[in-house]
Amino acid sequence: MPVTGPETMTDTLRTPLYELHTALGAKMTPFAGYDMPLQYDGIMAEHNHTRAAAGLFDVSHMGQAHYIGDEAALEKLITADLSALAPGEQKYTLLLNEQGGIRDDLMVSRPFGDDGLFLVVNAATKADDFAHIAKNTAGKGELRVIEDRALIALQGPQAADVFSALVPDAARLVFMQCGVFTLDGTEIWVSRSGYTGEDGFEISIPADRAEAIARLILADARVKPIGLGARDSLRLEAGLCLYGHDMNEDTTPVEAVLMWAVAKPRRDRLDFPGAKRVMQMFADKPARKRVGFTMAGAPAREGAEIVKDGQSIGIVTSGGFGPSVGGPVGMAYIDLDHASPGTEIEILLRGKARPAQVTKMPFVEQRYYRGE
């Protein structure tokens, strides 16, 4: 079998936690231009640890920015209702193109009281996103791209216990709330959210304090460092989209089954990019949509074709083994006629049609903390 050895990195960027990853024995991999940890102990062990206890992820490759000024100018580009976003709240939203295709998915939050918005966007799209936002809000708002902060995520059923031992005030946050806190004398920006389906926090830290704070969190025996490999299997089981795979510029929120991220007032006002086309598609039903699937045996991977009665009916956009599910799981775009949960389909793997079933997502129960 062919084996790819450790690759030599040239021109890849490093996060402020690069030295820590190396010290912890991570196997590194290039991702979105960064040299990132793929795994430490092994993907399966890290996945299971996150579901059972708590995992710490370095997501500093993602783009962080502070937006100050006319929020209507920013709102025109996305699908959120910013007037309904109160201080201390966070929303998942979509940056759309003029055809209603998804340029990116992002988090917008108001952790700084009345002092603007905090944006977190995907690593691979951050340069384009920020250029697009800056250009379209020029003269009305100011986008300050943040280059001097790391971003980490602490995820898992014990994340709250671990984090509240360090930052007692953070325990008051519920899912999709945020705020500014102090940890070890350092100002940190915290939201109660993540990308694993578990309870947890995303924490923005000054770059020069990132390693010390990461080590402080890792000093709790319940916490293990988790790489991108398990990050992918965790988010897939939770039914969360990976940008550039499960949706892209050619996918609308209707096809991606992300209309819940298009705020009702924005639908009514038809004032988000591509609104007319998107709402028409929403009314008419799309030709295809994103679904989950399960199967036995070998996992179908991204790009595998889906067939039924010899006809091509779709394509796999994410696929792999789900350690908590105990079998292969994936996401696919499937013709609407075959997209209902329970529909039997076939996926072509190495030329052979393998049985699979359209399955409701998430594949594992989401365990967000929504308050007592």
Partner: protein, 121 residues
């Protein structure tokens, strides 16, 4: 019984005209957690270098090539329920197939242990 290796990280243990084939500890380590192994049917013949099996880890699928030509006389059914044997015991319980060799001279072209260790270091 001699053990030979390919540059693609398969091992071959030869006993008379039968060879047991698996993947090396180095390969298993590089793959990570194995979650499924697709084995050929008994009775199928392969030429040296043909794709013979597929090993699926959490992160990717990798082909296993026939290190020598021959006919499959047995497959490791135990891997169906316990694919993790490939990680736990790559050079014993995690074997893939037994081949009846059709050309034993092909073994001469494979590496011995010393040469393989040099290949991966």
């Amino acid at each position: 019984m001699s053990v030979k290796y390919t540059k693609d990280h398969e091992w071959v243990k030869v006993d008379g005209d039968t060879a047991t084939v698996g993947i090396t500890a180095y390969a298993a380590e590089q793959l990570g957690d194995v979650v499924f192994v697709e084995l050929p049917e008994v009775g199928k013949s392969f030429d040296q270098g043909d794709e013979m099996a597929v090993v699926e880890s959490v992160k990717a699928a990798s082909e296993v090539y026939a290190p020598v030509s021959g006919e499959v006389v047995a497959v490791n059914d135990g891997l169906e329920g316990e694919p993790q044997k490939v990680n736990e015991s790559p050079d014993a319980d995690g074997w893939f197939v037994k081949l009846k060799l059709s050309d034993t001279s092909q073994l001469d072209g494979l590496m011995d242990e010393t040469a393989y260790q040099a290949h991966i270091s």
